[in-house]
């Protein structure tokens, strides 16, 4: 499943690089949203320049991702720890290479509920028994993700002749 969505996401991010005239942008707290036909995304960038976001494809397949500004092995699945003040869990993150970017795509049934918390941390095991831990503000995250889902639904509806 990861691979299928990753391929879709790859196309989506590539498409987003070309500014479309119908792009919509919204700000939700610390989160920024972009939506245009075939591309819906919301994300927050932390002080280290790492990015935590949520994006949907034109088929309304949506997934969370982090860009830790560090390399990963394309196609490899990494164990990861995700956490908020209310709790955390382990998950698997799929490495997607997109030009110079290395992104870790992931999802978890609890994740949407986590977005209502104040902060989110993503912990990735790295070499020499160390962990790369990045923290992100969740201010506005839940509204931003809901907006992205809504935009993706509208996009899918219009793509299939709906409304």
């Amino acid at each position: 499943m990861f691979r299928t969505i990753a391929l879709m996401i790859m196309a989506v991010f590539a498409a987003s690089a070309v500014a479309a005239p119908s792009v919509q942008q919204r700000t939700f707290g610390e989160w920024h949203g972009d939506a245009q036909p075939g591309y819906q995304n919301a994300h927050a960038i932390n002080s280290a320049g790492s990015e935590f976001g949520f994006t949907c494809t034109e088929r309304s397949s949506c997934i969370y991702y982090v860009d830790l500004r560090r390399d990963c092995i394309k196609g490899r699945i990494y164990p990861a720890l995700i956490s908020t003040p209310a709790g955390g869990t382990t998950t698997e993150a799929f490495c997607l290479k997109l030009g110079d970017r290395s992104m870790f795509m992931f999802d978890h049934p609890q994740l949407y509920d986590f977005l209502g918390e104040s902060e989110f941390a993503f912990g990735l095991p790295i070499e020499d028994s160390q962990f790369n831990i990045q923290k992100f503000s969740l201010s506005g995250a839940k509204d931003a993700v809901a907006w992205v889902k809504d935009q993706a639904g509208r996009d899918a509806g219009s793509a299939h002749g709906g409304h």
Partner: protein, 160 residues
């Protein structure tokens, strides 16, 4: 303080160790009849150990309060092994909480210079507990040897 040693010695033996020895720079080994134990304490006061009595089990103490049977999701990362996800179950004995590491391949994870565990920790979001493995190979080998002298021959690499 070596909390795991205290827990194990009191819980299983009910007495102070009959013999003790130091091995490695950061690992301590203790033994008595049919029971051997080695552990190390990190700078945060957390402890990682190997306890052999009826069977051999790796154990860890984090700076976390938990209730008997509580589960925490953890990622274990060794310097010479792929990181793995595992759910650890809290045990409480002698007023201290600890976790058995039965579901981890500790032979692989203990092969490098250090091992670390990351776990969700409330307001801190993620805590990392890191342990030096300097001297661990000698210490755990000593434990296995001491325990084998008085215990049935169960493969020690299999922690249960």
């Amino acid at each position: 303080m070596f909390r795991l040693i205290a827990i194990m010695m009191l819980a299983f033996a009910g007495a102070s160790p009959a013999s003790a020895q130091e091995q490695g720079e950061q690992w301590r080994v203790q033994s008595e009849t049919g029971h051997a134990f080695a552990s190390t304490i990190n700078s945060a006061g957390e402890e990682l150990g190997l306890n052999c009595q009826e069977k051999c089990q790796y154990m860890v103490v984090f700076n976390i309060g938990c209730q008997e049977g509580g589960i925490i999701p953890v990622i274990a990362n060794g310097s010479r092994a792929d990181a793995v996800m595992v759910d650890l179950t809290c045990h409480v004995a002698e007023g201290s909480s600890f976790f058995y590491l039965d579901d981890l391949d500790m032979t692989k994870l203990m092969a490098g210079d250090a091992i670390a565990f990351a776990w969700p920790s409330g307001e801190q979001l993620i805590s990392v507990s890191r342990f030096s493995l300097k001297g661990a190979k000698e210490a755990t080998a000593s434990v296995f040897a001491l325990w084998k002298k008085a215990a049935p021959p169960v493969a020690p690499g299999q922690a249960h």
